[in-house]
Symmetry: C2
Subunit: 265 residues, 2 copies
Amino acid sequence: MPELLSRLSLNQITLNQLSLIECVDACLRHNVGWIAPWRNKVAEIGLSESARVIRESGLKVSSLCRGGYFCAPGAIDDNLRAIDEAATLGTDTLVLVCGPAPDRDIDAARGRVADGIAAIVDHAHTTGIKLAIEPLHPMFAADRSVICLIDEALAIAKEFHSADVGLAIDVFHVWWDAFVYEKLEKSTGRIMAFHVSDWAVPLPGIFAGRSMMGTGVIEFRRLRLAAEAAGYTGPIEVEIMNEALWARPADDAMEEIKRTFAASL
Amino acid sequence: MPELLSRLSLNQITLNQLSLIECVDACLRHNVGWIAPWRNKVAEIGLSESARVIRESGLKVSSLCRGGYFCAPGAIDDNLRAIDEAATLGTDTLVLVCGPAPDRDIDAARGRVADGIAAIVDHAHTTGIKLAIEPLHPMFAADRSVICLIDEALAIAKEFHSADVGLAIDVFHVWWDAFVYEKLEKSTGRIMAFHVSDWAVPLPGIFAGRSMMGTGVIEFRRLRLAAEAAGYTGPIEVEIMNEALWARPADDAMEEIKRTFAASL
């Protein structure tokens, strides 16, 4: 298998029409070596059954999606559980989608993100889990993540040890930034995850607004090389929320994911 | 009239259901002293008739929307025409929506924005027109503007004299930026326009995704005060693209615009 394809990880929402067990089977059928489960899919069959299925499959787990949402009620307890689930599932990385503000005070919400990470980082460290802050596209600033910029996420990460807190870079969220390459360089040693999907015009939606690699405007190779120059050589998750993709037969989708990944990355 | 309401300018697309003449009449009926026409509406009745109607109304013209789109065929000629139209309509400000890249090379397109402004700035200067680069929300990076960040726009503006090239700050485009207040401070002396609308959740659309002030998450007063601290005390355009608003009777909409503007700004 070419080196790049060996880094492909199937983020489970890309084939949201499948259960976790079906997703694992699809990876095995298509010789994809990595998977990134979502907690809602894990919950469907339970944590220990999910862990058993993945362990017996031989798949590696690139990350668990997700912790975060630090302004939500019970956030700290939920994040501590997410850390435990990540460890049980056999990954070393928990992606943090930091959540919205409960009111118009976005700066206060950003402060609660930093405070929330401070409250869970010791447990993450002792559990062997890295916390990867994912800056989301600014169109999600009001409802999914008050953290939108790489440098903003990096400033929070740097309050902690580089082995414990870093960044999840998703090209869909950051490709448009005029300073993305210098920001990635400044993130050297902090990148813990790398996600891909494309930005097509017109955008097919907002939450489900992502497209197959090569159908949009994103410069994947340049961004991938920049992440590598910044020290990230781990798995690359394909994370595509797209209604049309979810309506397709999974095997067709997997073939196209592999082909466009190899051609675009 | 309270001081703040005397700065309210009706950006024409907010009442896109109206012609330019109807828009002028609506401003007069509702005691709004400023208007910001769009070139497509000006073209409907012709430039000289538009200029006559506005001049005779006594309304002041906050800006003309828009120049820009520097990668489009004929862009320089079109921008030179836009400068002339702005002067004829009696405004001193042309808003630049810089346009998308023709391919995946967004950095090259950004270079063409700077080159395009360099090609028109002398004509703008001698015509008495200021060029206001509008950084657009990153969700428009692929189809409307390769310029998304205040600091990115400012770096281009600073290649030119502060009397000639500056920024149009629209809160809808920049509210989410974690560094927006320091970026506005660094823009002191360069802010040439200030636009408002709100970011509601869920967003009612992408192009037509804007909402009435007070119905979303934007901290208007804090942003307005930051723009004032950076030296901008000119008209404040209400620019709301929203299908539901366009379906309403204009007089109802104008009443709500004035009321929510006064309450939120």
